[in-house]
């Protein structure tokens, strides 16, 4: 059989977001893989340098719907570094708790989707049902199920009251048990194992070379976590450990993520115990002194880095965002190449790709006509008025 060009995306059931992957396929084997980004570019980096620091906070929140808190957190940490504002300790604990909540909800989301990718729909249904617990908690704490808008410059917006605390503890206990149950399912269900074991393998050294981040890296046996590498917030005050796996395959990535859910529950519970009373927000100046700073956080998908440069005004010169998905893409392409067509979705999804984070520039691709073209703003406005 001749080689077949096999497109995945921009619209494909395996991808939650529009992105185009092109595979050359020989029978059931993938011989080559290529990626084309840019379907959801929204010009965020450029827009950031045309808005003031407070407006940018809202913009960064909207880089991604799943890891929105990690984005504001990294952005605030970078700007706080420039202004040398000291964030109150209670606010740091609350930030950490929400950061871990987000990890729980994102990992559970991923676990469900990965079940769906291999046709294990029941896993999706059960995991997403349990994910509602953390969603309810997040809604209770912040008022929102997504885009929590908890982190703000100099602290957090809302406090965690004692009544909330009780309900959080209760919810986290259940989640912890459920996560352990899912870890059990993932290592014992025969058909699921057949689809994840030795699929999408990549060695730790190769991962490091290609700059992979987060659970992808940790599942290949490399203990690299920004939370221990550059301890931020109060991560050095709680007792937890980085979970790694030597399996180097999709099963390893699954186990690392499930284990991180358990770990995140423990971190949050400890943080609730340790949290001192006090202010939750520091005064923040309008203007930011001249300078530049980077901030890294361990988002659920891996290392998220922000670079902010200020010229002393209230508008940044440059905000650069590097999302974990971009770092993991070269590794993902390697995982897929040489494997089976059937393994493309699960191997590719195993890095937990998020393309809305990765694309950030305005471009409209007219896919239907077979040719891509760029629309200028007036054209876009006209089109919008027509429809």
């Amino acid at each position: 059989m001749a080689k077949l060009s096999f497109p995945v995306g921009p619209q494909h059931p395996a991808l939650k977001e529009p992105e185009n992957l092109r595979f050359s396929v020989d029978g059931e084997l993938v011989v080559d893989a290529d990626i084309r980004l840019g379907y959801v570019h929204r010009s965020i980096e450029r827009s950031c340098s045309e808005r003031n620091y407070v407006q940018d906070l809202y913009l960064c929140e909207r880089v991604c719907g799943i890891c929105s808190n990690a984005h504001t957190l990294a952005y605030c940490m970078a700007v706080e570094k420039l202004t040398e504002v000291e964030v109150p300790v209670r606010a740091q604990y609350i930030r950490m708790i929400v950061h871990e909540f987000e990890r729980i909800h994102s990992h559970l989301l991923w676990l469900g989707v990965s079940g769906y990718e291999v046709g294990f729909e029941s896993l999706l249904m059960y995991v997403w049902r349990d994910r509602e617990i953390i969603q309810d908690i997040l809604e209770m704490v912040s008022g929102n199920r997504g885009h929590y808008a908890m982190t703000t410059l100099g602290g957090v917006r809302y406090d965690i009251t004692p009544e909330m605390e009780a309900r959080i503890r209760e919810g986290l206990q259940i989640l912890r048990e459920r996560a352990e149950y899912y870890a059990d399912i993932c290592t014992t269900e025969a058909t699921f194992l057949k689809r994840v074991r030795d699929v999408g393998t990549i060695s730790g050294d190769r991962c490091r070379e290609l700059g992979a981040a987060g659970p992808t890296l940790r599942a290949s046996g490399i203990s690299f976590d920004i939370r221990t590498e550059f301890p931020y917030l109060q991560y050095d005050q709680v007792d937890w450990q980085v979970y790694t796996s030597e399996l180097c395959d999709v099963l390893g990535r699954t186990l690392v993520r499930v284990q991180e859910v358990v770990e995140a529950c423990d971190i949050s519970l400890q943080a609730l115990d340790q949290m001192p009373d006090g202010e939750i927000q520091a005064r923040f100046p309008r203007r930011v002194p001249e300078g530049e700073a980077t901030a890294r956080v361990e988002a659920q998908r891996g290392e998220l880095i922000y670079y902010v440069r200020s010229d002393g005004s209230d508008v940044p010169v440059r905000v650069k965002i590097r999302t974990p998905t971009l770092a993991n893409l070269p590794a993902a392409m390697e995982m897929v190449t040489g494997g089976y067509v059937a393994d493309i979705p699960i191997a590719f999804m195993s890095i937990d790709p998020c393309f809305s984070c990765t694309d950030r520039m305005v471009v409209l691709d007219d896919v239907g006509s077979g040719e891509s073209r760029t629309m200028t703003w007036p054209e876009l406005v006209r089109l919008g008025r027509q429809q």
């Binding site: 077949l4 059931e28 029941s122 699921f192 059937a342």
Partner: protein
Amino acid sequence: MQVLRPLFHIMVFPGFLFLVAFGLFASWVDRKLIAKFQNRVGPPILQPLADLIKLLAKEDIVPEHANRTMFVVAPLIALAGVIASIVYIPVWAPEAVESFQGDLIVVVYLLTLPAFALFLGGWYSTNPFATIGSTRVLSQLFGYEVPFFLACLGPAIAAGSWSISDVTLAQFGGHWLIALAPLSFIVAMVALIGKLERVPFDIPQANTEIVSGPEVEYTGRRLAVWKLTFLTETIVGSALIAALFLGGPDFWGISYQAMGPWVGGLVGMIVLGVKILLIVFFLSLAQAAMARLRIEQMVQWCLLWLGIPALINIGAIAVMVHQLGV
């Protein structure tokens, strides 16, 4: 009237209309069961019918580069094959509408028609997803068809006949052949999952991988015909297994003749319906509890774990029939 009789059997009962009606109901049971297993509410009873009507009303597109004839004819051949085979399967009494020595083989082959038609329709739609899906349909066919045929052979040898009606009749009075051919029964059930392309063997359709494979270019009423094909095949396949292993409409020897032709026929149908729904329950359970395999895993697993047990069971039956005269 003599001309109308076969037409009635194929188009109304136990053919097209009956199969579609019962198929829609079984599909609802299936979806409701899976929903319950997955902690969901599930659809209302008329949902499958509504889905079907919706599909019939939708725009029908034939791809520009597709071979029009093959593309259009394939789903019809598939549906025709399935519907024709019900004529040879007992539905309300041990006798089917038609029967002759060797109808078992005809039915088994009629039931492979959907797979071949699916391959042709997918292949000639020239879509890359459909192309990959089509080759998977054929590869999978090799995986389940041989064990399925071997499994059907067991009861035939035990009953000493190649006619489904005879095999069913031999079981009347509660001598169900599942007792003699338990391995063959299990093999046939698993192979049926492959035939119906359901999880864990929904490899040719594989939504998240190849976007429903060969069916990807089908829309509107042609897609509806495909859906109907698998809907009716569920019933026909289950009825075949029930007829071969579970005594068809038999309920431990209740004499349907004593009840008269109408009541007896109705009770027989209900008994068979319950058996079919039990098989559907098994299909739903498998769907809820498992993940999709890869094609090469499937073929390997099927030939090893379905083919060999089916052979062993046939051997055992042959020995029993010849030596012990059971």
